[in-house]
Each structure stands twice: as C-alpha cells, then as structure tokens.
C-alpha cells in the first residue's frame, strides 16, 4: 500500500513537472527536435490515409450526381453572362498590367504544403500542414487551393508545422467583397460542418444568389480577389440594418491534400 502511494505520488509529481516545463516553454526544443524526427512518419501515414480515404468513400450515388448536375447546369447558365463581362475586363487588365508592371511589383510567391492531420471534430475545421516558421510562413497568411481559391489562414505557427483554420471553422472570420467591387461587403464566418455564411452586409448593398464572394484585401497578409464561394440564399428583412447570406465554398476541403501558402513579396524571406 505504501509502495503504491509512493508510486502514485511520483507519477503526480512527474506529470506536474512536465506540465510546468510545457507551460513555461522549456520543452519546446525537445518538441521541435521530436517533430523533425517524426515528420517523415507523419507524412507516410498521411499519404496512406488519403489513399484509404479515397477507396472508403467509393463512387458517389447516381441520384445525388443527377441532382448535383442539374443544379450546376442552372448555375452555369446564370454565370455565363457574367463570364463574358469578366473576360472583357480581363483583357483590359492584361494591357494595364503590361504598362505598369503590376505583377512584378506586388506579385506573390506560393509555398506548397501538404496536409498531414485534420481535426476529428466536425465543428472544428482546422488542418495541420508540413510547413512552419523555418519555411518563411507567418501567422495570418492566406492559404489557397487549386487556381487560387481561398480556403483559410495560418493561425498557429511552429518551427516545422503550422495550423490552418479553414473558412468553415467556427472561429474563422474573413473580410469579404463581391467580385468586381472594391469596397468591403461583409464578413465570411464559419459555422462548422463545411458551412460558411456571409454576414454584416449593409441592407443597401446589392447581393444576389450566385454572386461570387472574394477576399476584400483589408487584412494584412490576405490579398484581395481570392475567390471564396458563391452566394446560395440571401436572408434578412428589408427593415433590418444588415442582411446575411449562406455561402457555398468553391473548394471542398475534405478531399484536399495539397495547399499553397501565399507569401506577399514584401514579406518574402531574403
């Protein structure tokens, strides 16, 4: 009995000691070294995880595919007119860019990163990526996928890894605008379960279903005009000071394994 009490006391003291070391940050060098050693293992298991995931999900349901196809066709028709206008603007932009060398002065570098872990809680949409402070990453930097679709920001930084909070996370807040407009429109807030909403849109601002919502560029390290999502449904009474809208994110982050971190040229490591 006495021996058991002694062992119990030893365990408690040991745990308390480790807790103090961790809170004070004295364990950080050991943690950093351990991450360096274990990161290849994490990569390996993450790679297998993505492969197993694809085989577990299997082919999508036919009925779901048909409904989704009809929905996308309807969206395509409504966006076709906008596409023509955008192409005209794009051509004009190309000529202006050549004259003022816009892309050279304020271009962005991309740092590719791989997702190695996700939060298992569906309300907490965060992922762990394999790039950290040593790779020039900083807190607040924008993270994109595909052709520059904004999916989240770096919110926590360590030497070799960092945490990206996705736009559907309940703590995520991103200043947003409507494509083609320069002024701030509202705030994209995450609601968990891959859902995001556009909130605090002044009643006087025009907002229609299928409007493309982009980043407003008012945040330090998040450039403007990164596509976020499409407006699904606008909500709010005309007498309310603000209206809200449900958003359909353009990127399905469940199946993404590779992301790009935007590094503004002003913050590029020398």
């Amino acid at each position: 009995m006495l021996l058991r009490n002694k062992i119990g006391l030893f365990v408690l003291i040991g745990v308390l000691l480790i807790s103090i070391l961790k809170i004070s940050g004295l364990l950080q060098p050991i943690e950093a070294a351990a991450r360096v050693v274990l990161l290849p293992g994490a990569h390996f298991f993450a790679g297998i995880g993505f492969s197993v995931r694809d085989s577990l999900i299997g082919p999508p349901d036919l009925k779901f595919l048909k409904e989704r196809n009809q929905e996308l066709e309807a969206r395509f028709v409504s966006m076709a007119v906008d596409y023509v206008k955008l192409r005209a603007l794009e051509e004009e932009n190309k000529s202006l860019s050549a004259l003022i060398k816009f892309t050279q002065d304020s271009g962005f570098d991309y740092v590719p990163a791989r997702i190695i872990s996700r939060s298992s809680d569906p309300t907490n949409a965060s992922v762990l990526i394999d790039k950290g402070a040593k790779d020039g990453v900083e807190t607040g930097m924008a993270v994109v996928v595909g052709d520059g679709i904004f999916v989240g920001k770096i919110t926590s930084l360590m030497q070799r890894v960092s945490i990206v909070t996705l736009i559907s996370d309940r703590t995520s807040r991103v200043a947003a605008a409507s494509v083609g407009r320069k002024n701030l429109l509202g705030l994209v807030e995450g609601r968990g379960n891959n859902v995001a909403r556009l909130t605090l849109v002044p009643q006087g601002e025009s907002l229609e279903p299928d409007d493309v919502i982009v980043t407003a560029g008012t945040e330090d390290k998040v450039p403007a005009n990164l596509a976020i999502g499409l407006v699904n449904e606008v909500e709010g009474k005309p007498t309310d000071p603000f209206k809200n809208a449900s958003l359909e994110p353009l990127a399905k982050t469940d199946s993404v394994d590779l992301v790009l971190i935007l590094m503004p040229s002003a913050l590029r490591s020398q």
């Binding site: 351990a34 274990l38 872990s117 469940d254």
Partner: protein, 177 residues
C-alpha cells in the same frame, strides 16, 4: 526486459502517429478511431502497468506535437488517466476478464471527455475563447470503437498468449474429497 521496452516505445510511436494523422484523414465513422487509450488499457490488463504508463505518456507527447484543435495537453491527460486505470485494475477490477477490460476502457474514455470539456470551459472563462466542445455523439462513437478494439484485442491475447486461461490441475479435488 529491454526488448519489451523497445517494443513498447516503437508501438507507442506507431499508434500515436496513426491517431494523430492517419485516422484524422478518414471519413466518418473511421475518423473516430482513437486507439491510444484502448491499447494502453490492454497493456494494463496484460499486467504491464509500467509499460502501459510509458506507452500512454509517450503517445500523449506525440499527440501534442501534431495536435490540430488547440491540443488538450495529451501528455498529462493520458498519463493521469492511465495511472488511474492502473490503480483501478489493481484495486477494483482485479479480475482479468473481458468485462473488466471493457469497463476500464469506458472509464478511461469518460475521464478523457471530462478533461477535454473542463479544458474548453477553462479556456472560455480565462481567455474568453470560443467554447468548442465535441458533440456527445462523437464521444459515444469513439467509445464504441474503444470497446471493439479492446474486445478484439483481449480475445486475440487469450488465443495467442494463453495468459488468461484458467487451468485446473486434474489432481485437484475441488470438493475436498
């Protein structure tokens, strides 16, 4: 003896990396497999309390390295929970049956849930952070997986190690005759 410790450490690294990376990338319900506590309880039931404690502590350390959702101070959490499970296995659930094993893993998982919930409430109170507690349904699914792992593990251990089989000598006359 040394071989046992090496196997324990390697096993802890593998299982914790699986819990921190591999299983988090799978869809539901596979996403809810958290094997560290289940395997720690199996080690306790195998009468290897020191190995179980080291397994839990090392796994907790590695889980903290790759924690995504703020981390729940896994090294302290798992160490204390498994220390308590070891205490229970030596005082209350002393029989090495599948029922005792399932009871121990259920207690461990409930304590785990309490720790995480209290942690989130404290963060809310002290740092005004958002209260982010997993829904209870996810803890139930995790517990179901825990029970499945320990049950299958226990049955396999009985077959392959023969540790928990009760052998009665033919000479023994239980009726005192």
């Amino acid at each position: 003896m040394k071989k046992t410790w090496i196997i324990t450490i390697i096993f802890a690294i593998l299982v914790s990396l699986l819990e921190a990376t591999f299983f988090t990338l799978l869809p539901s319900p596979w996403l809810y497999i958290h094997p560290v506590i289940a395997f720690s309880v199996l080690l306790v039931v195998l009468n290897k309390p020191k190995e179980a404690f080291v397994f839990a502590a090392l796994s907790g350390f590695i889980l903290d390295l790759f924690a995504v959702s703020g981390g729940y101070f896994s090294i302290a959490r798992l160490s204390l929970i498994i220390a308590f499970v070891i205490f229970l296995s030596q005082s209350l659930f002393t029989n090495r049956s599948i029922y005792a094993t399932v009871s121990l893993v259920a207690i461990a998982r409930v304590l785990d849930r309490i720790w995480i919930t209290v942690g989130e409430v404290l963060k809310r109170v002290l740092f005004k952070s958002n209260l982010l507690v997993d829904p209870l349904s996810s803890t139930v699914i995790i517990l179901v997986w825990d029970i499945a792992i320990v049950a299958i593990g226990f049955i396999l251990l009985v077959f392959f190690t023969r540790r928990m089989k009760i052998k009665l000598s033919k000479d023994l006359n239980t009726y005192g005759g």
